[in-house]
Symmetry: C2
């Protein structure tokens, strides 16, 4: 690894001039040429660590997500990456496992590594952005909000919950249960809130056991579905508030031999890589990649120096019903929500 000094010596100029050439500052044509030639000859690449130490910032943004094995978050990551690449930024992916301690560690790394900014799906409401904020590093919250005054991009979760639940009622199901995420996670809370509203309006009374809280993953969906099948009276459909729990729920239905028609399933989220989408499944597709792109764009704006007041962009999901409706009277306004640009 050649240094700027060696290039300077070979080109017969000062190190400062070499730096200027590489940063687009005015340098005479003659010297620019000599510097470039010398740099090529020595295959010189500026040392980013040194540059970062001096500039107190780098062209790296961090993306903190709770679960890298969840396709929703990997799609989001793709969106972030695509946008960041366009602007010449690199993305560092960090897995928090929804663990506030891990999250905090990564946030400290962000600070001490002089990263340019953070896109964060907060593990909890308790996330401490104080340190990052006081350093002037921009933060964008995705999928979840924080008490701090930072930019955010989220899904209209309540509308998604409403759309999913309404779809089931419209198909003809009547005893619609819900598998929610862990209590306290905003995104799924809001989705189950949507469920609650629709159910309250369209169902005479809802047994207590119809709302099941579960962990976010496949096994959580399985456990919750088993509990639901034991509820009295047994539900005839279920809304799951995320993608992986839906997989678990469908697995249990398959194992117990309940036919898809017999039991409706609506998912807030996308069934990942589903080889077969069973009948009577409604999905509210979430624009995960777009969420990531948008978050990255907002972060880049801040990095670029924008000082406008923090905003939150809300994107909407898009309902897709695979099962032909039993009742033809669909509420068009909820049936399909246009994707926002």
């Amino acid at each position: 690894m050649a240094t700027i000094y060696e290039v300077a010596a070979l080109a017969g100029v000062s190190p400062a001039t070499v730096s200027r050439v590489f940063n687009g500052l005015p340098v005479s044509e003659e010297k620019t040429r000599r510097v470039r030639a010398a740099a090529t000859k020595l295959s010189f690449t500026p040392n980013k660590t040194a540059r970062r130490l001096r500039k107190q910032s780098s062209e790296i943004v961090a993306l903190l997500i709770p679960d890298i094995e969840n396709p929703f978050f990997t799609a989001l990551a793709r969106g972030v990456e695509d946008r960041a690449q366009e602007a010449g930024f690199s993305v560092v992916l960090c897995n928090t496992d929804d663990d506030p301690a891990k999250e905090l560690r990564y946030l400290q790394i962000v600070a001490s590594e002089h990263m340019a900014g953070v896109i964060l799906a907060p593990a909890s409401d308790e996330v401490d952005l104080g340190a990052i904020a006081s350093l002037g590093r921009p933060v964008v919250a995705v999928d979840r909000t924080t008490p701090y005054p930072v930019d955010g991009v989220k899904i209209d979760n309540r509308a998604a919950g409403i759309a999913a639940t309404t779809a089931l009622f419209d198909i003809g199901y009547r005893r619609v249960a819900c598998i929610a995420g862990p209590a306290g996670i905003e995104a799924t809370e809001e989705r189950s809130l949507g469920w609650r509203e629709v159910v309250a309006a369209r169902s005479p009374q809802v047994p207590d056991g119809y709302l099941q809280h579960a962990n976010f993953r496949v096994d959580g969906g399985r456990a919750a579905m088993r509990a639901l099948l034991g509820a009295q009276p047994r539900p005839d459909a279920v809304v799951t508030t995320n993608n992986l729990m839906a997989v678990g729920a469908l697995q249990v239905l398959g194992d117990t031999g309940i036919s898809p028609r017999e039991f409706g399933v609506a998912v807030v989220g996308d069934l990942p890589f589903a080889p077969f989408i069973p009948a009577a499944v409604a999905q509210v597709h979430l624009p995960a990649r777009h969420l990531g792109r948008t978050a990255a764009s907002m972060l880049l704006e801040r990095i670029g120096g924008s000082t406008q007041p923090p905003r939150t962009v809300v994107l909407r999901g898009e309902l897709e019903v695979v099962a032909p409706p039993v009742a033809p009277s669909l509420d068009a306004s909820l049936q399909s929500v246009p994707r926002q640009n």
Copy 2:
């Protein structure tokens, strides 16, 4: 962000002593106490950029994978991360999209960011590790091999291909086709080689169209499957050489209404998050996470200074057959391959 100088001033010692305290070098008990107190009071964290500039290395390893949306690679990433975390290292994930240019760019970043090492699923045989190697940065190849003398961890792909194909013959299928990855990608080439061997031994003659090359993803699997359904005579089963192509193939089968029994499918890889595993599907589960852990362990050894000659660890997949066999005469030795520790 407090610096070492402020801590030194507050503790009444020199900066060098503060550095020594934080690096475990011998310092008197009294001063150690004072430094720690001062550091806590100022909530001092060593600046990694400065440290890295001086030490010419960091505690970050890079992981270059071709597709972050493929569950095989995210599972692999989890394995790498788990192991790295244990050793106090952070992992930077980079998406190469199987694009040699992107890969090269990331490798340059690895160098100029002074990362400690790289775990790489090479985009092609052409990958140029010369620059990295000459810097003395250790490299571990995962899933694929390289012409360079570096450590590697891979799957016994030929055995996996053989196991998957044999399983289909054992169930009773006779016209077994194969969906391979893009020509030139070692992993899937080897798997289809396994297919070819078994087919050659157990099938009278194999029509040309039975080997389809496709891109790695779901749409590739769909296209290949459609082509296969048009082949004469029509195959009655297929081996797919990766997980996503299997999803595509199953989708096409579902769309065309061919019953699962009628057409057997064997996957080298794991059907991701499958809500329903259709009958007559055999999977050769690949120990992706373990692959990642092993690669990380090997890399950490090298970072620790090991100079033993490069080795390649080969892990084996584990066959799981969902469909009950039609023919009871199973070849036990190929039927189930024990997972290696």
